[in-house]
């Protein structure tokens, strides 16, 4: 194909120029579109950042200011002193880290078992679990709340952590990846006398490290951003996670635009940081998962 085009270009010089011009124009158009798109994607968050540094009242002016007339940190200070945001940050971090680490272990054990261990009832159990993917999680929330009440876990960290400790999606993701582990490696380890648990830890885990990384990031982000269940289960502000605290603040301080923007910035920065830092794993996981189906 390429050869033909080259021959064309050298034989017809005029069309070479127009082809290049067309190329240039297309490039300019494409980049213009991309940049406009990038601005649209970023503008809300840039405004959020900018408004968080504006003096009180400046965000409610006409015409709207895009850049603060002067930069002030008082909203951030107020968030951390009077409004206790440090506590909520800690709560969110604690819950997200605990859920991520625990669920990684639980989900990978199960995912590996489904992928590589042969046992009776495996297919039936797998089918039943697949059913669970269709059930929207909100259907479970009312009785789950009553269950938590009877376990005295309302308004506790565990009340938020426990429902997140195992996830059907996570199990399936790990299983999909674990299928590609060579059986001979596992059999060889068995012949060497290693226990199943040993095999899991020394052979399987190193082999599925990339998907574990993806799942870890995914779980961390999802748990940090989770809103509805923590909203339902936490009644005491001492245990609030950031999204719940933020929603609470917005009810009280609806007129304090700059303060709310500062709160939003603080909520979003950790997840953005995790994402930007580790985006390769995350994005690769999404794209790899989709190609396989």
């Amino acid at each position: 194909m390429t050869r033909l085009v080259v021959v064309d270009e050298t034989q017809f010089g005029a069309s070479l120029d127009s082809a290049l011009t067309r190329r240039r124009i297309s490039q300019v158009v494409l980049y213009a579109l991309l940049i406009i798109g990038a601005l649209i994607a970023l503008l809300p968050m840039l405004w959020m950042l900018s408004a968080s540094f504006m003096p009180t009242g400046e965000a409610s002016t006409y015409p709207p200011h895009l850049i603060p007339t002067r930069i002030t940190f008082i909203h951030y200070r107020e968030l951390f002193t009077r409004l206790n945001l440090g506590r909520y940050l800690f709560n969110s971090a604690l819950i997200a880290v605990v859920v991520t680490s625990v669920s990684l272990v639980i989900n990978s054990l199960a995912g590996y078992a489904f992928a590589k261990l042969r046992f009776r009832g495996r297919d039936r159990a797998f089918r039943i679990l697949s059913l669970g993917l269709v059930l929207p999680v909100q259907v479970a929330m009312l009785p789950l709340f009553l269950l938590m009440k009877n376990l005295h876990l309302i308004n506790t960290y565990w009340g938020v952590i426990i429902p997140g400790m195992a996830s059907i999606f996570g199990i399936f993701l790990i299983r999909q990846y674990a299928l590609s582990i060579p059986d001979d490696m596992l059999d060889a380890a068995r012949i060497d006398g290693a226990s199943e648990l040993r095999i899991y830890w020394s052979v399987v885990v190193p082999g599925i490290l990339p998907i574990l990384a993806t799942l870890a990031i995914w779980t961390f982000l999802a748990t940090w951003n989770d809103f509805m269940w923590p909203l339902i289960v936490l009644s005491d502000e001492a245990h609030y996670t950031l999204p719940v605290a933020l929603a609470n603040l917005s009810g009280e301080h609806v007129m304090d635009t700059e303060l709310m923007m500062a709160g939003s910035v603080l909520t979003v920065i950790p997840v953005l940081a995790v994402f930007l830092f580790l985006q390769r794993y995350y994005i690769q996981g999404v794209m790899a998962g989709s190609v396989k189906g």
């Binding site: 409610s60 880290v97 680490s101 709340f145 309302i154 490290l209 609470n248 009280e252």
Partner: protein, 433 residues
Amino acid sequence: MGLDPSRPVRISFVLVTGLLLAFAVASCSSASAGDKTTLRIWAMGREGEVLSQLIPGFEKEHPDIHVEVQQIPWTAAHEKLLTAYVGDATPDIAMLGNTWVPEFVALNSLAPLDSFAERSKEIRRDDFFPGIWKTNVVNGKTYGIPWYVDTRLIFYRSDILAKAGYKEFPKTWADWTTAMKKIKSQMSDKQFPMLMPTNEWPQPVDFAMEAGSPILRDGGRYGAFEQPAFRKGFDFYLGFYRQGFASPVSSSQVSNLFQEFERGNIAMYISGPWYIGEFKNRLDSATQTKWMTAPMPGINGPGVSMAGGSSLSLFAASQHKKQAWLLMEFLSRPQVQLQFYVLTGDLPPRKAAWQDTTFANNKYTKAFRDQLERVVPMPQVPEWEEIATTIFEHGEQAIRKARTVDQTLSSLDQDVNAMLEKRRYLLAQEKKT
């Protein structure tokens, strides 16, 4: 894949261990704070903010008691309190809107306070406005100590009223309507004599009560919305919007009511006593000499207003009832109530506090003192919060002309009767036993 995730794995391992340790420490240290008893009190809105300033006085008198104040916004307070009840996570004391007291009593979540009150030297029942104290009595027992009274009044621009020919605020509905017509004729298209957000229930309820409606009938078993009394009040309420006296906006659409008041874009607003403080703090100096309060006009003369307010209630699950009572006594002292008034503008429920010069010379609170003589309590049913919400939701439908008045009132009756069905059933059961 060419990725080396082992470093992130190690980092997260350290993070996890660290946080788990912190977690363990955090969940253990909650209970024991040494020899001190810790009281937990929840309060809403501005009162919650201000409470923290009153607490040091109490802690100085009682060094063995430490008080933790938690603030909740009004928009979420009802839910949060109920969730706390359901999850056995209630505080020791909570500030409850007095219309919520019957609800929490129905759940058996509050402790009766009569024995405390009878023996108390600080809290004497006869010193409280009887109509207000009564709102806290359910089935003959007292379940809350009134903390501040709330009733609705008119806040208005005295200069705009004067320009329309009214040196004093109108005292009857008819006069009021004429005044608004006059003011509207002197205003531009974008201005309105009255600011009355459509998502507030006190206005339609107040007008209905003035017209003599009990809102609910048969001991709170059925709605009384289709009866003539409610209809009369409701018609008057709708008249504000139909005649262009008020713009059909919800409270969240009002960007800054103080600015609108300053600029004369609105001339009247119905709200509670805490707005005295807000107006004093937020209106510019030019407008400070131009506003005043007035009692609600009635059909034939000065009208009634709702007996609102908040109470301090003690939860039955509290492990520190005696100490909690001490805090309630402290907050009920006339001097502390005066301090509270200065900080919030909330009015004291005790006559003794009203005798202070702070009020004697206060031209703004005079109207409230007057109105307190003519307050009417809301129906004391646990479902009140939801019924109130339904009233303004149906009102909004009628205002925006999506429905006629007849449709609105009949569907109100339908909906409220459905809400009260369980209550009817339980009351019938009780009668049998």
